[in-house]
Symmetry: C2
Subunit: 300 residues, 2 copies
Amino acid sequence: MKGVIGIDVGGTKIAFGAVSPAGEIVLRRTIATHPDDSFDEGIARLSAGIEALLAETGWGAGDIGGIGIGCPGPVDTERGVILSVYTLPGWSNREFAAPMSERFGGTPVRLENDANAALLGEALAGAARGKRSAVMLTLGTGIGGAVLLDGKIHVGANGAHPELGHVPALAEGPECPCGLRGCYEVIASGPAIAEAGEAVGLDGSEAVFAAAAKGHAGAQAIIDNVAKATEAAIWTILHTFLPEIILFGGGIADGHWPLFEAAAQKSLAAATLARDQGVTIARAKLGNDAGIVGAANLVM
Amino acid sequence: MKGVIGIDVGGTKIAFGAVSPAGEIVLRRTIATHPDDSFDEGIARLSAGIEALLAETGWGAGDIGGIGIGCPGPVDTERGVILSVYTLPGWSNREFAAPMSERFGGTPVRLENDANAALLGEALAGAARGKRSAVMLTLGTGIGGAVLLDGKIHVGANGAHPELGHVPALAEGPECPCGLRGCYEVIASGPAIAEAGEAVGLDGSEAVFAAAAKGHAGAQAIIDNVAKATEAAIWTILHTFLPEIILFGGGIADGHWPLFEAAAQKSLAAATLARDQGVTIARAKLGNDAGIVGAANLVM
């Protein structure tokens, strides 16, 4: 086996690559998703793209150990099906793994949620390399979480994934559709910061960060809440999963890493029952590559 | 194999039994722990007790599949050693599993923390029977937690166990030595309820429950906080582990089950992202037997 194929399916584009056993992307390509087109047409275009990629790398069909696919939203990993995802209307509830496997000579094909795939990427070749347990928080338009325990992605009851964006974070925070007042997502996601900023005349989450840096009191209060909410979320992770490493990813955390690192370290230092277990706080390393590398890790 | 031996080591007594593969205690005995006596003497008395038990059941040495031991405090499950436990000064940091195995013809001997053992008991023959994932909260002089994922006890970084008694529960609650204001334990453990009761002239946690039932406003406020803290702890469990079942055990929860059941169900009903996954809330079933049965489950 020379390597595997990792595919990162998004609502607008699909990135895929030939990945070495060490997690290095040997060659990568991108095609448009066309999520409203027919599913069969999409599978045909993707397969053709992979065949072209294989031809360029010089890998034959017998050289690939499998195909891993990361997708947004909930997936049925057993059946290899993307469940209902509004960003991929044409792709939902269709068998994905089986036709791909057939097209590539029966090679193993596995599907996983993209947040979980990103963590598997970091575990193979990024910030969580060599760790048996890790929790990754991804802060962007929402806050997602992925959990690796004993080397495997943790899955909840009924195959559902945990919702780490919705742990208690700030008792007096706004209501969230999740049912809780002051969950982490409703304080620290991009749209949450932007909405709080609107109330003090600021336009967008980056404007809030920028104004706080210049001493704007209202913006500073919002950022203080983001820090406090982060402390609470980290506290919860330390007293539940207690993983070897906690990773932050996503645009909000990546763009303002010192803030998130300081809040997480403050929480860790205060946690008398957890702080001596060698838990590390780190920034995700692979960025957009995590999807391809993690998808590849599914079949390694 | 006719069954295994389960041993539940406590600070004052050691209960042990012959346990069938179905988790039924065929015969049980108890001896005093004498925690300050020599460890070697303790092992000798315990071994003699097990030999007598085996003789009474009619099981020969070849009939037992192993010996499982549940102990208070942290244990090194790899080495089979009880770590520092103040209730068992003479037994700490001594090899426990190895001499027991030697004494019983090399049979497998495994050691586990008693909270984890209790959950393994409930999973084998109690309220969590047949479940692959479960979280058990035990409310007594402290609040302990045990977590079963994919059929195995979840262990945190560095072999440490999660501390579910110290998740955020009531922002305005008292300070806890864990480092958090208003963790679950500092609101809902027996001593926490008793301490809050003192401030309104009540003596002990049971007096607080009794006064609240009779309409005492100060007591009712304390019990309301216990319920609110329980809602928060359950919320956290639902959005992190998302287990198939959440169990309550221990004297406080068992003695006031309707209160805890109602709070947990309220939290579950409000959790829009978790409530459709079939999570069950239940009371632990085995009571004091859970220790022996769960210890037995370690070697099944």
